[in-house]
Symmetry: C2
Subunit: 529 residues, 2 copies
Amino acid sequence: MKPDGGSLIGFGSSGLGGATFKAFDPAKNVQLEPTFLSAGAEDVARAVQLATAAAPVWAKLSGAARNKFLNTIAEKLEIRSAELVARAMQETGLPEARLKGEVTRTAGQLRLYGETAQRGDWVDARIETALPDRKPLPKPDHRSMVRAIGPVVVFGSSNFPFAYSVAGGDVASAFAAGCPVIVKAHPAHPGTSEMVGRLILHAVRECSLPEGTFSLLFDAGFEVGQALVKHPAVKAVGFTGSVKGGRTLTDLAAARPEPIPVYAEMGSVNPVFILPGAIAERAAGMVEGLYASSTVGVGQFCTNPGLIVLQRSPAAEQFAKDMAARLTATLEGVMLTPGIRKNFVANTTARAHQPGVKVLAQGNATSMCSAAPVWFETGAKEFLGNHALSEEIFGPSSLVIWCRDAAEMLTVAHELEGTLTATVHAGAAEAKDQGPLVEILAEKAGRVILNGYPTGLEVSHAQVHGGPYPSTSDGGRSTSVGTRALNRWTRLICYQGFANELLPAELQNTNPLGLARMVNGQVTRDPVA
Amino acid sequence: MKPDGGSLIGFGSSGLGGATFKAFDPAKNVQLEPTFLSAGAEDVARAVQLATAAAPVWAKLSGAARNKFLNTIAEKLEIRSAELVARAMQETGLPEARLKGEVTRTAGQLRLYGETAQRGDWVDARIETALPDRKPLPKPDHRSMVRAIGPVVVFGSSNFPFAYSVAGGDVASAFAAGCPVIVKAHPAHPGTSEMVGRLILHAVRECSLPEGTFSLLFDAGFEVGQALVKHPAVKAVGFTGSVKGGRTLTDLAAARPEPIPVYAEMGSVNPVFILPGAIAERAAGMVEGLYASSTVGVGQFCTNPGLIVLQRSPAAEQFAKDMAARLTATLEGVMLTPGIRKNFVANTTARAHQPGVKVLAQGNATSMCSAAPVWFETGAKEFLGNHALSEEIFGPSSLVIWCRDAAEMLTVAHELEGTLTATVHAGAAEAKDQGPLVEILAEKAGRVILNGYPTGLEVSHAQVHGGPYPSTSDGGRSTSVGTRALNRWTRLICYQGFANELLPAELQNTNPLGLARMVNGQVTRDPVA
């Protein structure tokens, strides 16, 4: 299996379009074959037309059929894992073990979301039975659930070539919810994208699903993505990337004649508050834990811990010194793209010149596309007075904020912007007193972590990967990870006065799918009497 | 209890501000005392400041406490119903029986949403317990639920002075979800608004809730509402009104540095498809049913049936003639405001001049602020070719669309814009064949009705009052009626690695609130072992 460089439009491949581009091997500093062709306006129109035609079929597809499809994709990813990983290693510079693990995770996501679709409880089926004799007015029979929203556009991310790209979390959850998907491939790993896209198309054919279930478009620039978001037949958008990119798409979608939701997972600073007791009890372990969490993937994680909030004390200073020593000795790592590396250098250079900011640790990076950790430190007062210090630096850079005392820590917490995660490290005796800090952080973050680290995101029924703006465009009302992610691709539908046989299976009296449903206010799996 | 004309800012009353205005009795064509004062910028700032201070208290308030508060408001509304209805009759021209019923409905909504808050299942509590020995990585304990989003702004509607105004569905659901609320009163019934607002404040005091739980602001124009939507501390907005008004607010909210959700319930044409079998079996009953649904409240309902789609046949023509006779003989009714009446006259006059459109029935309205039914008819081809005919006319006006056959009916259905409801009337033998029509309508509407009428909205667990754009600003992902309305005022929060005693009660091991929770993928009310 080798990429050939054309967009995948339904079951066809397109060689139309304008600009061409190649993938780039950031470790070897060379371009990779083949040449990829940006999709043209006709490709966009055709992909959306096919998805629109497939949407009604998909809206009626059983959960079991969606599960089968998602499992078929998962299997194919696993079978072709070695080839996929080999290409992704070239395109991203990420190590083999990480990419293998990511394929496994991606297959796991597909299966979990498929299983959720098949089980079907997630549709929130609710039934109110008629009371024809009620006074003053009879009560009509009415039954409701969520239904698929229609064609979805997903933008592949740069930093997870599998788990948040062509067969990643947004795509898997949209399929599981019953929506056709058009992916705009991230130009940093087009070969991996095409290979995964072809596997999805094999699964579409194997499962006898309609053409238009899936398309994959390439673009060297922004035109294709913007055209997709503006297309009247597209009903929702998933995105993982920068605040700037996400906000551009959100603004475009909001300005449409018919606005549509954009679920953009954007920048996040992921603050870590470390209390004196934690340092007293386990400074060495925290150096290791924080080091691992902040350097994994060369810091290119959405949940990379970007702010470290400490109370000044000799022990805390020693902790910071130990941390700095560990960071300074770190070998450089290859970043995903020259552009990301360029931004990292520019942003860390700019931060070094901010008033009141000092370099705490600086690793040594010499290769073309590599980076080593650069950590900074500043005072709480300086942090609170300078908004630039609240901005995410994508890569292995964190900012230590020194507070005078617990009260100043609370002030820093109060002034944080929205973030995906917030972490508290507390000692055994002081943990119980962190209620006020935890409550402030729960206002700022989608996930609050006690005595742990923000990276290493569990894909589960309970996970929340979404927080207040700017960490996500919808302010943390939804999650892009975990089974609640399916609900993003739905809207509500209610049937009133329908004979049983005209209703979707989910709402029929006999409960043929065995769902947990709310019947006249009570949750039950029983049939309606 | 008499209104005094000042905004209610927390526990204080404000006499600041600029322009003044009076309520207007549309039946008697006279202004009503007292003079109302538009709120000023200081009032807006103070109301938001108080709500912001109250928000953390509200976010931690138990469901039982919220239920008690909502029940206290409900009781007060019922006790003072006569006074409230008397003032509302003057301000709206609506008849006593309707307004009494509306107070009862409003109290019922408050109780249903309060009961939902107390029962607590709606928070979607999910628990995944730790697997410390899992390979390759341990699984952390993580638990999630929804939490209150923060201060909410609600715009009172013109057409439901109780059920969608100061203590109406948006306010009740926001309180039930745990949010402080600032209401921007609709200027058409400021006295009713102030009286209801004072009752809410009595309930705030009786329940020992913080100042800032509730404020009520008056405005003769748009400045106060726009300032509220733009205020950085406001986290969500509820609105019921026109597409133009709703879109203005949605655009403002989307353009904020931190965008926030606007749940705007806007225009809706509520098409009714009447099949030949229905006419053959029960034409007379349908004339009565459709007549009642389209004239109730002088047609000023969001769910007023605005498009009537028929297949041409002698029986259908007779049906239309009978309908027209009934409509023409209708006594005029007083509209809510001179402005609404003026728009109704302008819109029906304009429609009468559209190419291919004929007046089907025209009642006789002579009084100042009154309207009588004006129905139009046109062909499917004319309808499909002229977007102006898809626009809602607020008031007692509907457009009959004549189709050649069932296929043309499907074409009309396909081309509909988003709407709150869509209705199908079918005969006994033909109902089972309406799958394709129902499926198209399910794409266009939030609620599909078989052999019923769209008005008369049940407030229940299963209700959906929200459809694709432009019927609602969020495309029908949420509902403004029914217990799912609470979820609009929330976002997700996940706690990872927390000791049991540091978790909210909803997520604690013992399940002290007895919630239905998803524990490791299974829904249960059992404690976590």
